[in-house]
């Protein structure tokens, strides 16, 4: 549950009738009336734009944790170092795997599955499932991390189930740490997709699906040719927000594996932290942060295009 997750919540309101332009108060046509945006703007400039600018500067220096005086401008060295660094490439790969499994395949598909099952199920089952899935979403990140740590651990619940089903068990956090944290993120984040898709599905007129059914379309055909095309904008927005949220997951992985064993679940945020603080290479860590920020910014721009007409 991150900030970006709900960036679209307020959207329901303009539908109820936003303030019509021509009715806006026309009194006091001076710039002073814009004064109220000052506190927010100052905060954003000081604590958001400031750090981003500082980030862009530090990324080109060799700053270390120990002394500020020694920092000097090194051009693109940090980036060259990153792309030559096997650990960095490992992190990029793991981040891609993590995003693909947990956001695109996991949260998105499972969210859609839950939403479409809920549209057809009995009321009691629907609300029970909704409550549990949302509960997993609202729980603090660290608590979720601990819960899933016990779930996947060697003596944990998952292995117990596998043993019951006579399937081989293993120490998931050791053998497949990135898969374990990806599933943990699915557990924690699916509620958002579920809510988005529930809303989207409820907006599809019944007549459309019914007439397709009358025309003899099977359920897969209805899904591919009617449902999915009709909710494609929700799919786009949801994928974008999920991906952005997944890119910045730190606490969940930190609580479960701390990026380990070795670096086998070290996604980019963990790598960045590790370089900056455990290896004291602030400059290098910041360069990685800048790359992450740029990737995030690109995704945000796509999201902005999707949302354009809403502003």
């Amino acid at each position: 549950m991150s900030t970006t997750d709900l960036a679209a919540v307020g959207k329901e309101v303009p539908g109820r009738g936003g303030a019509p332009r021509d009715q806006r108060p026309v009194r006091r046509k001076n710039t002073w009336r814009w004064l109220p945006i000052a506190p927010a703007t100052v905060l954003l400039l000081l604590f958001l734009a400031g750090p981003i600018a500082y980030c862009a500067y530090i990324a080109f220096t060799d700053m270390q944790l120990t002394g500020q005086a020694s920092a000097s401008f090194v051009g693109f060295d940090n980036f060259k170092k990153a792309f030559a660094d096997e650990n960095f490439r490992n992190s990029v790969l793991l981040t891609l795997v993590f995003t693909l499994i947990s956001s695109i395949l996991g949260q998105n598909t499972l969210g859609l599955t839950l939403a479409s099952l809920m549209a057809r199920s009995t009321r009691f089952v629907r609300s029970a499932t909704g409550a549990v899935v949302i509960c997993a979403w609202v729980l603090p990140e660290i608590v979720a991390g601990f819960l899933l740590y016990t779930f996947f651990s060697k003596e944990g619940t998952l292995n117990e189930i596998l043993a019951f089903l006579h399937l081989p068990s293993q120490n998931w956090l050791y053998t497949l740490p990135i898969i374990a944290v990806s599933f943990a993120n699915v557990w924690r984040g699916t509620a958002f997709s579920m809510l988005v898709y529930s809303a989207a599905l409820s907006e599809i007129p019944k007549e459309v699906t019914e007439s397709a059914e009358v025309d003899g379309a099977g359920s897969w055909q209805r899904l591919w040719r009617i449902t999915l095309p009709m909710i494609r904008r929700s799919i786009g927005t949801n994928l974008m927000l999920n991906t952005l949220q997944t890119l910045s997951v730190f606490g969940l992985i930190w609580a479960m594996t701390r990026g380990g064993p070795g670096n086998r679940s070290q996604t980019l945020p963990i790598f960045m932290y590790d370089q900056a603080f455990n290896k004291s290479l602030i400059g290098y860590g910041t360069a990685v942060a800048l790359l992450l920020l740029v990737v995030g910014a690109l995704f945000s721009l796509v999201y902005l295009r999707l949302m354009r007409e809403e502003v």
Binding site: V9, G10, P14, Q23, I37, F47, T157, S234, L244
Partner: protein, 309 residues
């Protein structure tokens, strides 16, 4: 073990009762032939599917509940071998629970107040006046809601060291408040658009200032929206781990999200019962707050129509 094997059985019985009760008889008369009607079969399949998924989602939560009252908790879901409240009484000390929770409250409470105040003030002109820069401004706000805050934490740490804000409550509060601000402004502006200007004009004619119009007319009218922004910001900050983890160092200042790590993070020698008990204590406030706003909006915090399809 027992609880695990119970899950399939549970879904089996639930589906079984469904088959006998449901609206099956009525449908059957419409559609002659043996067995259940098609829509009932579909509903049964959907219920069954959901129950399986529900089982997968609920297991970690059941572990939490069981382990917190178990005399000898393990890492797997199992009914308590003996009931005890000792886990709770062990963690209910100043050091483990009360101080970190109080820190969390001060940190998140103050930051939420700051976010909501700044957001309400900024949303007012953005919602009410027209200006050339308001659209770019809003687009920038929307853009910043998406930025991965995690990525800025290393430079923020560096910056805070230089300006002596590191390990201070107020520095952390400022940053936490700012990190939620773009989203709060965006949400607040959209909620404010829903309040008709006509009501405000009555206040104008009575000679009210913009601040009076905002606090006496608009904010009360957008009550639920205002509550959503407040509660949502608070929930986000309460669960935030990375920001206080980076910016606060002294143990006596740490909020619950980080202290849980200090006390229990030494993986391998965890007292699981106490960890579970503390997790419950720490999570309860946000769960209650969530229920509060979702009830208030009639389940409408389900982002009704949030993302247009």
């Amino acid at each position: 073990m027992a609880a695990v094997s119970e899950t399939p059985a549970l879904s089996g019985t639930a589906a079984g009762t469904k088959a006998t009760s449901g609206p099956a008889p009525r449908r059957r008369s419409l559609r002659p032939g043996p067995g259940l009607s098609r829509s009932t079969r579909q509903r049964l399949a959907a219920d069954l599917g959901l129950l399986v998924l529900l089982g997968a989602f609920v297991l970690p939560l059941i572990w939490l509940l069981f382990a917190s009252v178990d005399t000898d908790p393990s890492m797997k879901v199992a009914p308590p071998s003996g009931l005890t409240t000792e886990n709770f009484s062990n963690v209910l000390t100043d050091e483990i629970t009360f101080t970190p929770m109080l820190n969390s409250l001060v940190l998140c409470g103050t930051a939420t107040l700051m976010t909501v105040t700044a957001a309400a003030l900024a949303a007012y002109p953005l919602s009410r006046y027209k200006a050339r820069f308001s659209r770019p401004y809003l687009l920038t706000i929307l853009f910043s809601t998406c930025l991965p805050i995690t990525a800025v934490m290393v430079p923020v740490y560096g910056l805070f060291v230089q300006v002596n804000l590191i390990d201070t409550m107020h520095g952390t509060i400022f940053f936490l408040a700012t990190s939620q601000l773009p989203f709060a402004v965006w949400l607040m502006k959209n909620f404010m658009d829903g309040v008709p200007v006509a009501l405000e004009e009555a206040a104008w004619t009575d000679g009210a200032s913009w601040l009076q119009a905002l606090t006496k007319v608009i904010l009360p009218l957008m009550g639920p929206g205002f509550a959503v922004v407040t509660v949502y910001s608070f929930i986000q900050m309460w669960g935030n781990f990375f920001v206080p983890f980076m910016l606060l160092i002294s143990p006596e200042q740490l909020p619950a999200s980080v202290s849980i790590f200090t006390f229990f993070g030494n993986l391998g020698s965890i007292a699981f019962g106490e960890l579970a008990a503390f997790s419950i204590l720490y999570s309860t406030p946000v769960l209650l707050l969530y229920i509060l706003i979702s009830k208030r909006l009639g389940g409408g915090f389900t982002l009704g129509g949030a993302v247009k399809g």
